[in-house]
Point group: C2
Chain length 369, copies 2
């Protein structure tokens, strides 16, 4: 499978939902497989909070492949021998697409807090502009989980003619206060961290030593991505060897896992991007600008595949089912299908239990459903 | 109802589960109602993480009564006209009983990190010693929710002849990694906060300005105490008025709630006590020292009433049901009863939805079950 990574530069203004303008801006994207002659084999993949355009395949020297490599590739559920897969890094992120640490033209200084608030609608709009530039005006499918699922749903509502199939996993129609509360832990921990320097931090420095506030935020995130059951299996009540059980800081395995992953994350993810992207997630509500969810969904002309995960505690499966119910209610039942994945892993099942839904996604993209 | 608050001082050493010794130590406790002549009307109430001995009634000038006032009082479910109710402040806490900020005799300096690790077993042992001093060797009931429920269960196992009835609400037989993970957010946020000064903070200073790390930990706690549904009802997706929706720090109601309550909490609760008490919760496992949960439960001679809350996400109701199942399994079925409260509020239901279980508790203490 061939991986191509490119950057598209745009000098036209991007009008954002907030009323503000981004100009100029860049979008980094990755493609796998070949675009066919009539450009009918495009599958758009959208990433989640901490993801990037690197959805599949291996970069030289890396220890891990792209984040959905188990799903995307030659002969896999989304078969790159048949499909031309595109994944872009979203606006506001920190892997090459314009975000808060990008230079604020014409100055040489990064935006930092002068970066405008970005919404899921903006992320999708920017992708749509990129695809138009690539000569792609209609795609076979848009697929995404978590914040990627929000993007897929926004594609369905905002660009009704664009995608034949929309596959949204482990997402919601409107972010609930439960999720906003988890993001608030991160926000508070980041902005109050003295090393964050009110946003004036040196990114090189953080790459070396990380940022405690972001690490704590990510630790809270990890809780929300798992479940009681997956934590039981991963950690149980096991202790880290050689740390005394009756020492105040003698640690359980779960504590070590959170610390390790939290601090590690804070070395490769930008804290301002974390604030901006979680804000976009908090603001997400498919019905914004409409009188109701049903009214928003009435615009849809794609076939909607809604995948919920039984023990997802970040976005409860009922939230995906509610979209299906709303589709039925507004007479679009034939364009909607809800599928619940049996899993007690929690939210992250969409990333780690691919086996449980890859056949389903395969059938959809192959037109066998 | 008469409220009496007293402090008992002990000069004998208290041998702790860790092998360390506490000497001397003090226990603050509160009583309501009158001890009858044959001392047969005692109900022991155990508090949760941030609770105190002030379980019921009003202190002069206070805006709020004790934390379980809706349940305990004259003519209430636990009727203080009939029962003599005792609630002690647990070891390690910060409301008068010996804890990490108590003076480390013979020095005048507080223990701080030199305070020994305390377990639920230790908390219960200290209470048992206090009761013996008061001439109480057998009680009508021990009642508690969350960490208070853990104490009630420990009373049942550690002092089999002590209580006629054990009523444990919203607790577990062994703390799962899910809960340890939430406590880890608090631990990390507290110890990395520069104002914590590695435990050498000035408590007077923190009473004035609070401690960000503890506030963040408490915010995480609040999430774990609620549920998706109670948050929907309390906050929905509502914005704080006059804060722009597209401002990065324009806040949702849920964000304001967490900030306000988190920072407020950090002004009246001690961060070292928070570390020590969450450690005790993390360490809690009824089966410690036995080959299995069943073997521990075999010791029980009290009647066990186990109350789970349907949408409790901190301690799932199944964890309480498992105790009942284990009691059946070891032939103690007649001494065990499981009751599930219909509620979508989350863990805090044991504090705020008293109406849903007060009749049940009333029937138990009145001997009508």
């Amino acid at each position: 499978m061939e991986i191509t990574t490119k950057t598209a530069k745009f000098t036209n203004p991007l009008y954002l939902e907030s009323g503000r303008i981004l100009e100029p801006y860049e979008i980094v994207y990755e493609t796998y497989g070949q675009l066919n002659e009539d450009r009918s084999n495009v599958v758009v993949v959208c990433h989640a909070l901490s993801g990037s355009h690197h959805a599949a395949g291996w970069y030289e020297g890396d220890r891990k492949p792209g984040w959905w490599d188990a799903l995307i590739g030659d002969g896999k559920a989304i078969d790159t021998k048949k499909f031309f897969v595109i994944c872009t890094n979203t606006l506001g992120s920190c892997f090459g697409t314009t975000g808060p640490m990008s230079k604020m033209y014409p100055s040489d200084e990064p935006y930092r807090f002068k970066f405008p608030v970005i919404t899921i609608k903006d992320m999708v709009k920017a992708q749509r502009i990129l695809f138009a530039k690539l000569g792609i005006d209609r795609v076979h499918a848009v697929v995404g989980g978590s914040m990627g699922g929000m993007q897929a749903l926004r594609f369905a509502v905002d660009f009704p003619g664009f995608a034949k199939n929309i596959i949204a996993l482990a997402a919601t129609h409107a972010t609930r206060p439960w999720v906003i509360a988890f993001n608030e832990i991160a926000k508070e921990a980041i902005i109050k961290d003295p090393d964050f320097k009110n946003g004036q931090y040196d990114p090189k420095e953080l790459e070396q030593k990380g940022l405690t506030g972001l690490a704590i935020g990510r630790m809270a995130g990890h809780i929300s991505f798992l479940s009681h059951y997956s934590m039981d299996r991963k950690f149980g009540r096991d202790y880290v060897p050689n740390e005394g059980i009756y020492e105040l800081f003698g640690r359980f395995q779960v504590e070590r896992y959170l610390e390790y992953n939290g601090y590690n994350f804070s070395k490769w993810f930008d804290p301002l991007s974390y604030l901006y992207i979680t804000k976009a997630i908090n603001l997400f509500d498919l019905s914004t600008g409409y009188d109701s969810l049903e009214e928003a969904l009435e615009r849809i002309r794609s076939k909607l595949y809604l995948i919920g995960f039984e023990k997802d505690l970040l976005f409860l499966p009922e939230e995906m089912r509610q979209i299906d119910e709303a589709m039925q209610k507004c007479g679009k039942g034939e364009l909607s299908e809800y599928y619940e994945v049996k899993s007690d892993y929690g939210h992250d099942a969409f990333l780690v239990e691919i086996d449980k839904f890859s056949d389903y996604i395969h059938a959809i993209v192959e037109g066998k459903r």
